[in-house]
Subunit: 243 residues, 2 copies
Amino acid sequence: MAGDNVAPSVIWMRSARGARGPQPSHDRQGIARVAIEIADREGIDAVSMRRIATAIGSGTSSLYRYFARKDDLLNLMVDGALGSGDFSPSGDWRADLGTIAAATRETFLAHRWMVTALAGRPTLGPNRLKRLESTLGLLEEHGLSARERLVLIDTLISYVRGFVASEIADDIAIEASGLSAEQWRADQEAYIASIVSSGAYPRTIGLFEESRRLNGSTLQDQGFAAGLNLILDGIAAKLSRAG
Amino acid sequence: MAGDNVAPSVIWMRSARGARGPQPSHDRQGIARVAIEIADREGIDAVSMRRIATAIGSGTSSLYRYFARKDDLLNLMVDGALGSGDFSPSGDWRADLGTIAAATRETFLAHRWMVTALAGRPTLGPNRLKRLESTLGLLEEHGLSARERLVLIDTLISYVRGFVASEIADDIAIEASGLSAEQWRADQEAYIASIVSSGAYPRTIGLFEESRRLNGSTLQDQGFAAGLNLILDGIAAKLSRAG
DNA sequence: AGAATATGAGAACGATGTTCGCAATAGGAA
DNA sequence: TTCCTATTGCGAACATCGTTCTCATATTCT
């Protein structure tokens, strides 16, 4: 048949415009940028096809000229929010990895919908690839294979993702509950009080009471730094064993 | 006013049945169990209120006598699938933490919807609390505070969550795409080939080609064990420094 | 017995992602 | 230039979703 070449299912392989018809009014990256702004400002649930269409001044169904499914748009949003991730190695691998970890955490905190959107999404977009490539440049000259280096870096990034996930879980739950932050916290407080008064979970209760006495964000910062150092120590042990 | 006591917003605080009316035909845990089975078998997207209602043989709107929102049902599903997590410490902390990490990974692999459902969900259900409490019993007698022990364990669990998330991301994407696994992999292959032929990302390309030569699941197992040992090494360093 | 209150469920509402069909547009071929 | 064909934009419609309303029914307390 003549028209055998269909549009590829991988979004990154679809060409920007067709050879024949009118010039498209928008482009995929631009639409994704608008969607990211909406998600940052109003939460991921506000990102509906109709909402995006209104924001860029087009009809809703026109979006399907750019994305076969909403999922493709989300792929572009995730990769777009990831950013280019340019960074220049300082030569001090420990400092470099700390910088990468902190930057990744900042990205997730700046776009709090990303932790949710990233779940179950194997992103291989340009930005992700760029990050991977530049990160693999680290830890060379320690006698490790590329795969071994990837394991080290993946372990670190997995930790960052997991940490931020629990760090922002409360905020997301509040947003989704529709309750005010005060009301939500009051309800939570009552629940925890009921756990405490139950007498079970003695060790956990100690943590609850300790947490109440400390400032939330500095507690998170300290926890993040502690876990980060833990993993960096593990990497250091690996490197000294290999080198 | 007399009717001032409304149902608490935290699902775990709502009583099983009211004081006056007929006996409920179902219970929350049972409904959650059915929902878990559907999610395990047909994916999380198949878990709609109508689908659950049909499965337990009730009307759709009746579910709202048990859960104020679908989100509450998801909370119970997550906590239910977590399981009691009973385990008896062996005295060898390294072996114990390895067991916990492996068991957590198994849980996530057995209920692949959990990684997605857990995103942005601060679960404090009974099973989660039981797990936390028993896990905090580990690493005592090393001169660490409860919070310090929590940081160590949280770091480990964060890693497990992050690792499994990327481990199953492909499977979830295939399921959501509607494509056959073969078609999806063929498309992915074509995309990667286009990256390779682009000449960019030389380090990343090496990894792709290496991955193709190895068996997928043993590769995952090895990667998991490697990252796990990395973190356990970090914990060991921390313990020797503290003790 | 009667009052009070919880349960079960059919019908309906608003919102969502997506598809269909058609008019308008613009590049390639004659 | 002229016709053909592929492509865009989009209004309307569809199936499905979570959720609410309302009311008959069932049970327990006074």
